[in-house]
């Protein structure tokens, strides 16, 4: 049997009160029958079904949620993401102008009252463009990550759990997709699509992104599957579905979350790369990636054009990575 990945020494830590229950139980007490145990229950002032036990017991997710609400890293990152989502949906809330309105006389000029970020190469207000660009970047990042994570962890998890020829086939297919250079693949796949909207880009990223997640998911399911508690649950009559959903998935999800949040940042910048190459998003779609690539040729005479969209991109990526980190920690009860 493989050793568990954790030592027993991590015991009661992190603010648990000194625990009298870990002391050895008194032995030689009265005969063990349900009547006496019920009496103890009543003495303890705990009527069956009372609020005491109910308040303490929750599923993994509700316990994690209670943890997250007290975690400043989670609160900050969640607020940033919430803000980004709001402006992605209603950009006019904080930017009154149009991202397309150009004033060539002001091209590449810096900040001035009413235009805090300055102007881009065509004299469009950079602040408005950064605000409007959030939508494309968030949609690409979130949808591509969600799609790749769902597809990848579903396929990888099933392959890891059941093994056999299905696993072999899936792993080889994943290897093939893994071997496609992402930029070359983008040039080939996306050059035939002329729409310039976000959905072909999302689809392409999911197509090339799922093997990475499925490898991680497969590996961690294979590791979790070998744990004694899976064997124990099977010995107590749990079905395959229950083993996979209740015993393996929660123990295998942490690496997937971490990789997915990091991938989210990569996907947003991948969108920028593809847009730069002219196969991703295309004007009139507004995105940080388009603006970054447009600004990159003017970095010496107008660095602000690069700075603001790149800064927005960095903060977004950072917020998602911090969120992923906090969620991963909250899902691990040993860190509580």
């Amino acid at each position: 049997m493989p050793e568990p990945p954790h030592g027993p020494g991590q015991g009661p830590a992190h603010g648990l009160p000194p625990d009298p229950h870990t002391a050895v139980a008194p032995t030689g007490g009265p005969a063990l029958d349900l009547a006496s145990s019920e009496a103890q229950t009543l003495e303890g002032g705990q009527p069956p079904g009372g609020p005491g036990p109910e308040a303490r017991v929750g599923s993994l997710w509700s316990d994690a949620w209670r943890d997250l609400r007290r975690n400043p890293v989670f609160i900050i990152s969640a607020l940033i993401i919430l803000f980004l989502i709001v402006i992605a949906i209603w950009p006019s809330l904080i930017a009154s102008g149009s991202p397309y309105k150009a004033n060539l006389a002001k091209a590449q000029e810096g900040a001035e009252p009413g235009h805090p970020f300055g102007y881009d190469v065509q004299g469009r207000d950079l602040y408005t463009r950064v605000v409007y660009g959030a939508r494309a970047s968030i949609v690409v990042g979130v949808c591509a990550t969600a799609g790749a994570a769902l597809l990848g962890s579903l396929l990888g998890g099933l392959a890891g759990f059941f093994g056999g020829w299905g696993d072999a086939v899936l792993s080889r297919v994943a290897d093939i997709f893994f071997g496609i250079p992402i930029v070359l693949g983008g040039l080939v796949f996306l050059s035939v699509i002329t729409s310039g909207s976000v959905w072909p880009v999302v689809g392409f990223i999911v197509l090339l992104g799922w093997p990475q997640i499925s490898r991680i998911a497969r590996g961690s399911v294979v590791t979790a599957k070998q744990n004694d508690y899976v064997q124990a649950a099977r010995a107590l009559g749990a079905s395959n579905g229950r083993l996979l959903l209740r015993h393996i998935a929660p123990n295998a999800v942490a690496p997937v979350i971490v990789v997915a949040t990091i991938a989210l940042g990569t996907y947003i910048s991948l969108e920028a790369t593809l847009s730069y190459l002219g196969v991703g998003l295309k004007p009139p779609t507004v995105s940080w990636g388009i603006d970054i690539s447009a600004a990159s040729t003017h970095i010496r005479n107008a660095p602000h054009m690069l700075l603001w969209p790149a800064g927005a991109l960095s903060i977004t990526v950072l917020a998602f990575i911090m969120l992923g980190d906090a969620v991963r920690d909250a899902l691990d009860p040993k860190l509580r």
Binding site: Q10, P26, T41, E54, G58, Y229, Q231, A232, A235, A238
Partner: protein, 356 residues
């Protein structure tokens, strides 16, 4: 208890009731990359309701593999049951479908694992893990299952069960965790519990408490108990019968007191002699020489012969069957005419028995 040596009918003198669990001539092999490992080679034993059978043996003697085959949780591949029967409550489990076997597990027979820390899911609270038994097999709601979980924790004497039901396994001490394992195994009051080295990971004082709890629950629920261990000290108090395994075979099977008083197999004698004793302080501790055989190349003849102080030529070529042992010192075998339920797989069991 009747020792079922080969697939044979029970003696007419015995009670006609079939034993709760009757393992007959079980063979298990592991098909590995570098060969076939014969882990279990014809094990037969039986357990009646309310009885405790201790299965003794070194690491690698096949005791745990036999248990896994009985439970139907053998990892396959690489493990395969190649022959034999596992008759449980009158049915041969090996012929049942997968779904039927799953329903037997947990409800009719359950297993307690050695290391409760790794056998409990670290991310699920103990209350939820205990309650899962009722959700899976009895279809109880989550809330009702939680209530039953608290009752169970009370029953295995975990203090303040109602407060601790939401705690996670790592928040309990080793002894408490093993109690939770026991509570999980007995949740649905199964007819048979297999305890695979339940106390090996615990310190000595807690070992005694856990064994006592196990024995108490067995009495109360009239369960059959198979206690797998390599610790002779643990079994003396709780077992009714002992089966000693070596290289995937039963080498001796005897009522517990008879076995301790006069072992009928040199391997058992070696095991008993290697227990440290206070009255032999200062002397060198006895140890059985050599190593258990490689299960891919089990020696011909008696598998124990390379390590046996009594080995003679016949032992190198002739594999001893399970001889019935006549033991005049045994209570069950008062006249010394056999029928005391003792067997030994040694050509020279009589000499071994008389040896002091």
């Amino acid at each position: 208890m009747t020792v079922v040596n080969e697939p044979s009918p029970h003696p007419a003198t015995e009670a006609p009731a079939e034993p709760l669990l009757d393992v007959r001539d079980l063979h298990v092999e592991f098909r590995l990359r570098d060969g076939v490992s014969q882990a279990v080679n014809g094990v037969s034993y039986a357990v009646r309701a309310g009885e405790t059978l201790a299965v003794l043996g070194e690491s690698g003697s096949g005791k745990s593999v036999t248990a896994q085959a009985i439970m139907g949780i053998l990892d396959s591949p690489p493990g395969y049951v190649t022959a034999g029967q596992v008759r449980f409550q009158g049915r041969d489990l090996l012929t049942l479908g997968r779904e039927e076997r799953r329903k037997v597990r947990g409800a009719q027979m359950a297993m307690i694992f050695q290391d409760a820390l790794s056998a409990l899911n670290p991310v699920v609270s103990v209350g939820a893990q205990l309650g899962e038994m009722f959700e899976v097999h009895r279809g109880l709601s989550r809330k009702a299952a939680r209530q039953r979980a608290i009752e169970l924790m009370d029953r295995v004497r975990i203090p303040a069960a109602a407060q601790r039901v939401g705690d996670y396994p790592h928040q309990f001490s080793g002894g408490m965790r093993q109690r939770i394992m026991i509570a999980m195994a007995m949740a649905l009051e199964p007819a048979l519990i297999i305890a695979d080295e339940p106390t090996t990971a615990l310190d000595v004082t807690v070992q005694a408490q856990v064994m006592e709890l196990l024995a108490e629950l067995r009495r109360e629920l009239d369960m059959g108990l198979i206690l797998i261990t390599h610790d002779l000290g643990v079994v003396a108090d709780v077992a009714d019968t002992i089966a000693v395994m070596y290289a995937g075979r039963i080498v001796e099977n005897a009522p517990v007191h008879d076995l301790y008083r006069a072992p009928a197999h040199p391997y058992t004698r070696g095991l008993l002699d290697s227990i440290p004793r206070l009255d032999q302080k200062g002397q060198e501790l006895y140890a059985i020489k050599g190593l258990p055989p490689n299960l891919m190349h089990i020696p011909p003849g008696c598998p124990f012969h390379p390590r046996c102080p009594r080995a003679r030529d016949v032992c190198r070529v002739d594999r001893p069957p399970l001889y019935e042992v006549t033991d005049p010192g045994s209570v069950a075998d008062a006249g010394g005419v056999g029928g005391g339920g003792r067997t030994s797989a040694c050509h020279f069991w009589e000499e071994t028995l008389d040896d002091e």
